[in-house]
């Protein structure tokens, strides 16, 4: 993975920059020594490592603003970081850039039941929000698998999903407002406790911008009342085609379950060996369907889905009788990544989305690719919304295997795009999928995105080297193409 050429002059100024930051921040908030910088060298995508220039750990919005203003003035790059759980290298440090850790901003500022929202600092974990309101019967809906560790600020940066977004939406659909520090140190508020921020939806575009547009310091999220009942169905199929048909038939019947997850045979076996969830081992695909609502509604839907599954050729069907049993159904799915980690020295987790109906075709292509690259693959799949997580098994200690795994992964993602899907459903582009962007976007598409970046950060100091395959200067991007030999209406005022 090629990163922008680090600036040797900035690296040479490490000591001076650390001293400047110590002047801005309270004691103990700046890390410049090699062993402690190394702690920050990677995020959840451990294949790439780079110790940062310096680590700054501000404790409040004013300190974040002061650091950004300093970087802006001095022309120093900066990489924001929450808990470092990104699976796409979104928080991968730069040799000539400051890593800005937001972990100290860890307080919940306001729990407002009258307006059904919570205001939290960026470093509060996703799960801590639910924990803070569950006593009153509320929860925060988006639930990425890393929710015990990942921060709400990072969720906003990545527009994180989870297993329940089919019914309850992604982060972007559940955030009402943010406080954000712009690259020049300016602090602005977007949205609040009301719906639909007025003016351009800068909140919407900031969500999922992977730390390239601003640093989120505070987030207002909406909270929902807990459903009365939750039940899960575990349905086994002799083929993934039949499982796919079942998913389509459930939706065609007008049912939107709270969650609908699929696992293929290798994933089922790895998960069962790890957590002993009681998964059937003689099926090719396993579907977990979660339903929530009043008991009468769930019982009615369970009956309907059971009938649909039978029509689609289901081999087994179990319905959770207790909450413990429901959690057991989920235990295997939720532990799928570590379970695969047990059967292979390393694995590489992919994240494409496809139109659901193309699943069998994409799985067949994956089987062929698996043979071609001589690497095994296990699949977990947010079946309801078409988000695939192929886990490619490899051994980094065997020469060439990492490279083969990456090529295999790239081919899978290109197949996703080819059938009408996208490169990343919830993990982000980061550095990982950066160079594949042209498979989905033309130069003109990317130029429009990069110009938006320029509107926020003309010096391109915030998290550079991520998302976009090539860095282009803002002045060059801003140039108008001359139409018909002359600048159109030259007398119009220009900003």
């Amino acid at each position: 993975m090629k990163m922008p050429e680090p600036d040797a002059a900035t690296i040479a100024r490490r000591g001076e920059i650390a001293a400047d930051l110590r002047g801005i921040l309270p004691a103990g908030s700046v890390i410049a020594d090699e062993p402690r910088r190394r702690v920050y060298e990677s995020d959840g995508l451990t294949a790439y490592r780079q110790p940062p220039l310096v680590v700054a750990l501000p404790g409040n919005t004013a300190e974040v603003s002061a650091v950004l203003r300093y970087c802006h003035r001095e022309g120093i790059k900066i990489v924001p970081r929450g808990a470092g759980t990104s699976l796409s290298g979104g928080a991968l440090p730069l040799a000539d850039g400051i890593t800005l850790g937001l972990g100290k901003l860890n307080r919940i500022l306001d729990i407002d039941y009258a307006n059904r929202c919570v205001v939290a600092q960026a470093g509060v974990t996703n799960l801590a929000i639910t924990k803070a309101v569950e006593g009153e019967g509320f929860y925060y809906a988006p639930d990425p698998s890393s929710q015990i560790a990942c921060t709400i600020g990072g969720n906003v940066a990545e527009n994180s999903g989870g297993v329940h977004c089919l019914k309850y939406g992604l982060t972007t659909n559940n955030v009402l407002g943010v406080e954000v520090v712009l690259m020049d140190g300016e602090v602005v508020r977007l949205g609040g406790k009301h719906f639909d921020a007025g003016g351009y939806d800068l909140l919407g575009v900031l969500t999922g911008s992977e730390g390239l547009l601003g640093v989120v310091t505070e987030v207002t999220v909406r909270i929902l009342p807990r459903p009365t009942q939750v039940k899960a169905m575990m349905i086994g199929f002799p083929s993934s085609e039949q499982a796919g048909d079942c998913v389509a038939a459930v939706i065609a019947a007008g049912i939107i379950p709270a969650g609908m997850e699929m696992m293929d045979r290798p994933a089922i076996h790895a998960a069962e060996a790890f957590v002993h969830a009681g998964y059937p081992l003689d099926v090719e695909a396993l579907l977990i369907v979660e339903l929530d609502g009043p008991e009468v509604e769930i019982d009615d839907l369970v009956t309907r889905i059971d009938r649909i599954a039978a029509t689609c050729g289901a081999a087994t069907c179990q319905i959770s009788r207790t909450d413990a049993e429901r959690l057991a159904f989920w235990a295997g799915r939720k532990a799928a990544f570590p379970a695969v980690g047990r059967i292979s020295p390393d694995y590489y987790c992919m994240d494409g989305t496809i139109p659901r109906g193309r699943l069998p075709e994409v799985l067949h292509r994956m089987k062929d690719l698996s043979a071609k690259y001589d690497l095994k693959v296990a699949n977990v799949f947010h079946a309801g919304d078409g988000n695939l997580h192929p886990l490619i098994l490899y051994d980094a200690n065997k020469p060439g295997e990492l490279h083969r795994a990456e090529s295999f992964g790239n081919d899978i993602l290109l197949a996703c795009v080819e059938v009408g899907g996208v490169l990343t459903g919830e993990h982000g582009v980061g550095v990982e999928k950066r160079d594949l962007m042209p498979a989905m976007f033309t130069d003109t598409d990317l130029d429009h995105q990069m110009r938006l970046k320029c509107a926020f950060d003309p010096g391109q100091l915030l998290n550079p080297g991520k998302v976009f395959p090539q860095l282009r200067r803002c002045a060059e991007l801003g140039r108008m193409h001359i139409h018909g030999g002359a600048m159109p209406f030259p007398d119009l005022p220009r900003f």
Partner: protein, 388 residues
């Protein structure tokens, strides 16, 4: 005035690239009176960019030309038992406009109805689009799948930008099953303050309320008593169970179903209470729900509440336009939220801030965003803000 009406994407791009002066962007003009009046040399209509190009019910996705009449899309969805869950309103009668509204118009203005509280706004349902920016260049963003974080989410930026950044040519939206049944639980004889508490309590319950409104007595044909309306949607057994539970816990006075329920929510959705009376100007305020009573108590104002109090509709005498603007913006500054002048004569909308004025740092940033898409400032100049 010249009207350009391209019939394909290339024609749209050519129309914008070769424009010698500013353009007012319209579909069929149903929302021309929304926003500040645009002074432009020519009109660019998307009415020729029509047709549903993609509809896969099992994938919950539909794509169509921006100029496709919304009615055509809703009919196609209804035939498959589906709908646009954000419940796009029809402000035709409110604004005194004729002409069908288009998919592109509803998205460009980010309009959504009572189900906003449960299903999200238009911006939450736009999966992807193709558009032509003020540079005259065709670009796309997003895709046809719900789970997608590939690149910036420009769909959010397009929704609610009133055609000032780019002209939508095609939009791909998420569609959802139409609920099997619906009913409305009503609590009569409550003033706005009590209503906010009733709605809060209903939305804190697990009964999945998909509409929460308060209407004062004597508007529409709903009797002389003020009342709270709470909509429940879903399968037959579920709706019956939840209606009984809410009726019990809120001491409800009535449950409406079928046509009566549908008519009520259409009335709320379209702000039909204020259609016709053109001696009054109409404000639409998005506020924290608990602040609704505080912001709505304006002298001489008629008002009703939607979104569980989060949306306040106010009608005030046209003679008090400037005073109401000052007062309401004072209230949004204090309680949060924003106020939009939805209906007023052209001269009033030209002289007042139709949209909530932005703080200086956000105004500068928004202006830079506008400039990045439309450096010549030719698309709907002045439609949202006087300065850009």
């Amino acid at each position: 005035m010249a009207v350009l009406q391209p019939t394909d994407m290339a024609g749209l791009a050519e129309a914008i690239a070769s424009a010698r002066d500013s353009l007012e962007i319209v579909g069929h003009g149903s929302k021309r009176r929304l926003g500040r009046p645009v002074q432009a040399a020519a009109t660019l209509s998307t009415a020729g960019l029509t047709g549903i190009s993609l509809y896969e019910p099992a994938e919950l996705v539909l794509g169509a030309g921006a100029g496709t009449p919304l009615a055509e899309i809703e009919a196609a969805l209804a035939a498959q038992g589906q709908q646009l869950a954000f419940e796009p309103p029809d402000y035709g009668a409110l604004l005194g406009a004729t002409g069908p509204q288009t998919l592109g118009g509803v998205i460009a203005c980010n309009l959504s109805g009572p189900r906003r509280i449960q299903a999200g706004a238009a911006r939450d349902h736009l999966l992807g689009f193709r558009a032509v920016s003020g540079r005259g260049e065709i670009f796309k963003s997003g895709g046809r799948v719900v789970k997608n974080v590939t690149g910036y989410d420009l769909s959010k930026l397009m929704a609610g930008s009133y055609g000032t950044l780019a002209v939508l040519a095609e939009a791909t939206v998420k569609v959802l099953p139409r609920p099997e049944t619906a009913c409305t639980v009503m609590v009569h004889g409550v003033d706005a303050v009590a209503a906010i508490e009733v709605m809060r309590s209903a939305l804190a319950s697990p009964h999945d309320v998909s509409g929460a409104a308060w209407l004062p007595g004597r508007i529409g044909n709903f009797g002389s008593d003020a009342f709270v309306a709470l909509r429940l949607e879903g399968t037959e057994p579920s709706v019956a169970f939840r209606a009984a539970a809410l009726r019990e816990s809120l001491k409800a006075t009535n449950v409406a179903s079928g046509e009566a329920s549908t008519t009520l929510w259409k009335f709320v959705r379209d702000a039909a209470a204020f259609a016709g009376d053109h001696d009054r100007i109409v404000w639409r305020m998005s506020v924290p729900p608990a602040a609704a009573a505080a912001v709505a108590g304006l002298p001489d104002a008629e008002y009703f509440l939607d979104w569980s109090g989060g949306l306040v509709w106010l009608a005030v005498p046209a003679t008090q336009a400037a005073e109401s603007a000052k007062l309401l913006r004072h209230l949004t500054a204090r309680h949060g939220g924003h106020a939009t002048l939805v209906r007023a004569p052209d001269d009033v909308r030209a002289s007042l801030d139709v949209f909530e004025p932005l703080p200086p740092a956000l105004a500068t940033l928004s202006q830079r965003v506008k400039h990045s898409f439309d450096p010549r400032g030719i698309l709907n100049p002045g439609r949202m803000y006087r300065e850009f």
